[in-house]
Amino acid sequence: MSAAATRNRLPLPALIGVVIGAAIMVAPLLWTLLLSLKSNSELMRDSAAALSPPYTLGNYRDILAGSDVPLWLLNSLIVSLGTTAAVLLLCSLAGYGFARLDFPCRRSLFIFVLLGLAIPEQAVILPRHQLFASMGWHNSYGGLILPGLAAPFGVFFMTQYFRAIPKDLDEAAMLDGASRFRIFWKVLLPLSLPAQATLGVFTFLGSWNDYWWPLISATTSDKYTLTVGLASSQMNYAQTSGLGFLMAQAVFASIPILIVYIIFQKQIVGAMAGAATR
């Protein structure tokens, strides 16, 4: 066994603890997956039937054929990707400005932005609803995306990241004849890609999982995001008469998140580890 492997091996009690913890985390997910692969009628008789074959993809066929789930999925993708792209753009620009540009009231303005972190969404949801209603922005992609763009944490995060990049690089680029925008675009932005990835993943996940604002803003089924759509389909007795279909919807909804996680695993784990050790 290599030295590295020996060093990384957990002591037995810790290993057992980790396995138990992992089992507790995985069990509900596995249960959801198994339920989604059983017909509703079988599950109505006994939900324990999920533990034994036969399994079927019928519920997934129903989702793709007859339900609004693909449309809600598309809505969620548009809203989440739109929010993520806009947040990355705005936070990078704002972060660069706070970190590198000298302008009046910079410090006060930065503190003002940070104060946004202390304001819970609940405190502003009613005036925001009234504002959007008066502007006629409800039931639109813009209405779903716009509130997510106020991202004080993103501004703070990108500011701190840009501050950590040595100013020598800006100065070297200035001596190389680069304009302010070119320094941002060609030097600092590429160097901030790890931060962009981390912020992007968390913004995407946050937007994807957001339930409250879409519930208020999207009132017609064609503008539902997946979270609101799935909740709307859980009518009375859904837990008993359509359990398999319900679970299939949940699994289906989590596929994009799973893809995002697989692609950006390194950044997500890195951000978590960073938060833990900071």
């Binding site: 040595p166 020598d168 100065e171 070297a172 200035m174 001596l175 190389d176 680069a178 030097v187 590429p190």
Partner: protein, 365 residues
């Protein structure tokens, strides 16, 4: 015509003055070192020339063109940063090409210039690597290469050797000396290392306390320090300073008296010493040699004995408590605590007046 002219440059950070009326003329292809302790303003002056700082007042001219109002990229200068400041996400080739692309140099010429510089600096094997894959010495060469390809009128080097280990520093120092012969530009190097300044520069600008203390060739600086600060800062070990009074004896050349009454004959013209009678006698270690007890100019006790191989440095304490540095042979038998005689060669001694001004023998250069 001077390559670079600095005219009465002032700079303050808030209420703190950093540069106080600095003026300097620099010739074409000249290599000048700004030498001084931390906080002396040398780096600020370099950054003002580069355009990374703005002077509060004063003018900067390069090749007959006033540049202090221009952006750094338009000044015709290139700076090699202390920490190299290579773009980490770009390859060596891209690092070197970045400035040229900004200047809209045709692609074919960019390639030619990069390959030429890479051959000169022996980094042609590294062109497709990123800075993170290079050693400190290689990064240093790339940083120099990035400056060379721009064919600037003036190279600015900010402590270029400070991040290298001792062996690499000596090698790079030799390479820098060779490099300056090949580039058709003036060079300014900021350093706090006097050995770098002495070995590389045509002239040294010694800075301290927000202003230039002395400008001169390395030997002028060493042999005729303008004031007490320069005398103490340049030379290792530092020049010994002993309080003396001017003795009425002697004719044209001054004779001074140490605290214990010992007379030392200098070759400094008495007429230059304007009315003062109390001075500090400045002695380089090589002006003080070890002799047998009682056989020298005065006796002392060895406090520290540093054996350097070819010579031995003896830090000794005189009977009145003042300290003096002397030189002995490489195979010196002296030990700490030994009594010894010291032979002072007054011909190469210096005198410093109460305002710090230096007086020197005429023929020392």
């Amino acid at each position: 015509m001077a390559s670079l002219s600095l005219i009465d440059v002032h700079k303050r950070y808030g209420s703190t003055a950093v540069l106080d009326g600095v003026s300097l003329e620099m010739e074409k292809k000249e290599f000048i070192a700004f030498l001084g302790p931390s906080g002396s303003g040398k780096s600020t002056l370099l950054r003002i020339i580069a355009g990374l700082e703005t002077a509060d007042s004063g003018e900067v001219w390069l090749d007959g063109r006033r540049i202090d109002g221009l952006t750094p990229g338009d000044r015709g200068v290139a700076l090699v940063f202390q920490q190299y400041a290579l773009y980490p996400h770009m390859t060596v080739r891209e690092n070197m090409a970045f400035g040229l692309r900004n200047a809209k140099v045709p692609a074919s010429e960019i390639t030619t210039r990069i390959e030429q510089a890479a051959r000169t600096l022996e980094i042609d094997q590294l062109l497709d690597r990123k800075p993170g894959q290079l050693s400190g010495g290689q990064r240093q060469r790339v940083a120099i290469g990035r400056a060379i390809v721009k064919a600037p009128k003036l190279f600015l080097l900010d402590e270029p050797l400070s991040n290298l280990d001792a062996a690499l520093r000596n090698r790079t120092r030799v390479e820098l000396a060779q490099l300056r012969q090949r580039v058709d530009a003036a060079v300014i190097m900021v350093t706090h290392d006097q050995a770098e300044a002495m070995t590389l520069a045509d002239r040294i600008v010694v800075m301290s306390d927000r202003s230039i203390q002395q400008v001169g060739t390395p030997m002028e600086i060493y042999d005729r320090p303008a004031n007490r600060f320069v005398a103490g800062f340049v030379g290792s070990p530092a020049m010994t300073m002993l309080p003396v009074t001017l003795d009425p004896s002697g004719n044209a050349d001054a004779i001074v008296r140490l605290g214990n009454g010992t007379l030392i004959a200098t070759q400094i013209k008495r007429e230059e010493l304007t009315g003062e009678t109390s001075f500090d006698l400045g002695l380089r270690p090589e002006s003080v040699t070890v002799a047998a007890v009682g056989a020298g100019t005065l006796d002392a006790e060895a406090v520290i004995v540093e054996r350097l191989g070819d010579r031995t440095l003896v830090y000794a304490r005189l009977d009145d408590g003042s300290e003096i540095t002397a030189v002995d042979r490489g195979d010196s038998k002296l030990h700490m605590g030994d009594r010894l005689g010291l032979l002072i060669d007054g011909r190469s001694a210096h005198l410093f007046g109460s305002d710090g001004s230096g007086y020197h023998a005429e023929q020392t250069i």
